[in-house]
């Protein structure tokens, strides 16, 4: 029996701390202005997608994503899409448990659009991309190099427990490849459901 991974422990700690925060009686309306910063920590589990018959690797494992972002705009738009744009950066750490115990770490600038939603419940979409180094590369038929790039797109829901603290759940699609710098370069595609929390200040 293996011991719980670091990502699983952090996720558990995040969930426990989230649900032990005392509920406030007054209405929670986060006031995010230009320059408001967000730090967040998310954790999830990577699940493989073999999109072609040439893809054979079933890469999977926990992922940990500490990130920072800054509110760039006041609320824009007047309809359901009214929201704010955030620009930030994220470190992605993935512990591949399958097919081999390997690791990957990347740095990705990210753009996030946070919808106004109901005030307390705010959906968002995000896009990120950047360099990604993994020692899984070269050991699988899909990727020949260790230096790769990771592209991420997804969305989620932020539930504000207080005006500064939110719990997030979401889904991301991950694509890892080396941009043709070395062959073969089929790329690895994965789904990443995740949960985490954010602090705004």
């Amino acid at each position: 029996m293996t011991s719980p991974s670091l990502a699983a422990r952090i996720t558990l700690a995040a969930l426990v701390s989230t649900f032990t925060i005392p509920c406030q009686a007054e209405e929670v309306r986060p006031r995010l202005t230009v320059g408001t910063q967000e730090i967040s920590l998310s954790a999830g589990y990577l699940l493989p997608h073999r999109l072609t018959t040439e893809h054979t690797t079933k890469q999977s494992g926990p992922a940990l994503m500490p990130s920072w972002a800054m509110v760039l705009t006041d609320p824009i738009g007047k309809s359901f899409y009214r929201g704010q744009l955030l620009l930030g950066a994220e470190i992605v750490y993935i512990q591949f448990q399958e097919p081999f115990l390997t690791h990957g770490v990347g740095f990705t600038p990210k753009i996030k659009y946070l919808f106004e939603g109901t005030g307390r419940l705010r959906p968002y979409i995000e896009f990120a991309g950047g360099p990604f180094y993994t020692d899984l590369g070269g050991r699988i038929p899909e990727e020949s190099s260790r230096f790769n790039f990771i592209l991420t797109a997804g969305g989620g829901l932020s539930w504000f427990f207080t005006s500064q603290f939110s719990f997030n759940v979401g889904y991301r699609f991950h694509h890892i490849s080396n941009a043709g710098t070395r062959m073969p370069n089929l790329g690895l595609n994965s789904s990443l459901p995740f949960g985490g929390f954010s602090f705004y200040f």
Partner: protein, 253 residues
């Protein structure tokens, strides 16, 4: 050169440049629009027994045309600005303030109109470009946030005469991505509001003589204006027939 060495050199060059650019991407500054008119009202002296109280009846605030709640801080700031002039004996705010009808007082109505131009579209595109460049373009793509305020002050003297003053100011905060904070926006609003109130104060000081207690006699009546409407006389209808009325004198006993 060995490809691995080249890769390493490229990585370290990129990292060094990124750190340098990030460090230089924290600046911010505020540009204020020049005041609409440069007035130097000069020092005005007023005797203490010539000062009259000022009551602010109402403060309306709009932001980009939409009505807003006026914050207590803003009311205090306006009061403080007017108090600094030294023209009025004391100042109070709110409709609940009662004043004796036989006092000489000046009543004020204030309209604060704010216009915010967050340059959201520009910020969004620049943000995307900055992100795509791995933040290396941060120092070369400054962001902007514009704020303008227009304060209209209507002062009504105790005899009913009204004077209207208007102060306007605008400013733009220019900042690089890492220099953005909510405090920066507050600083911008603070500077613009201060400039606006200063302009108003200068205009009021020019009319110092108008607000001295001896400038006009007090109106003894609470009613300053009345609307008079001429009643249309009831013209007798030609077709109507007069009704004879007989009055009998009471009998003397």
């Amino acid at each position: 050169m060995n490809p691995n060495t080249l890769r390493r050199v490229t990585f370290w060059c990129w990292a060094t440049v990124s750190i340098l650019l990030t460090a230089t991407g924290c600046s911010r500054w505020i540009e204020m629009a020049p005041p609409s008119e440069m007035l130097d009202p000069g020092a005005q002296q007023i005797a203490r027994d010539e000062q009259v109280p000022l009551i602010i009846d109402v403060v309306h605030t709009t932001r980009n045309g939409s009505p807003q709640h006026t914050s207590v801080e803003m009311q205090q700031r306006i009061l403080g600005s007017l108090a600094e002039i030294g023209l009025f004996s004391h100042l109070s705010s709110g409709t609940h303030v009662e004043s004796p009808s036989n006092d000489k007082i000046v009543r004020a109505k204030i309209l604060l109109s704010e216009t915010i131009d967050p340059h959201a579209g520009g910020a969004a595109w620049k943000g995307i470009v900055i992100g795509a460049s791995m933040y290396t373009l941060t120092p070369f793509l400054p962001l902007e946030y514009g704020y303008a305020a227009n304060v209209t002050l209507e002062l009504e003297r105790w005899d009913g005469q009204v004077k209207r003053y208007e102060g306007r100011s605008a400013g733009t905060a220019r900042y690089q991505l890492f220099g953005a904070t909510p405090i920066m926006i507050e600083e911008l609003k603070g500077h613009v509001t201060e400039s606006c109130l200063n302009e108003l104060a200068k205009q009021i000081i020019r009319d110092t003589a108008f607000y001295t207690a001896s400038s006009a006699p007090i109106s003894r009546s609470d009613i300053r204006t009345v609307s008079i409407r001429r009643l249309s006389p009831r013209t007798p209808d030609a077709s109507s027939t007069p009704i004879p009325i007989s009055v009998s004198a009471p009998a003397d006993r």
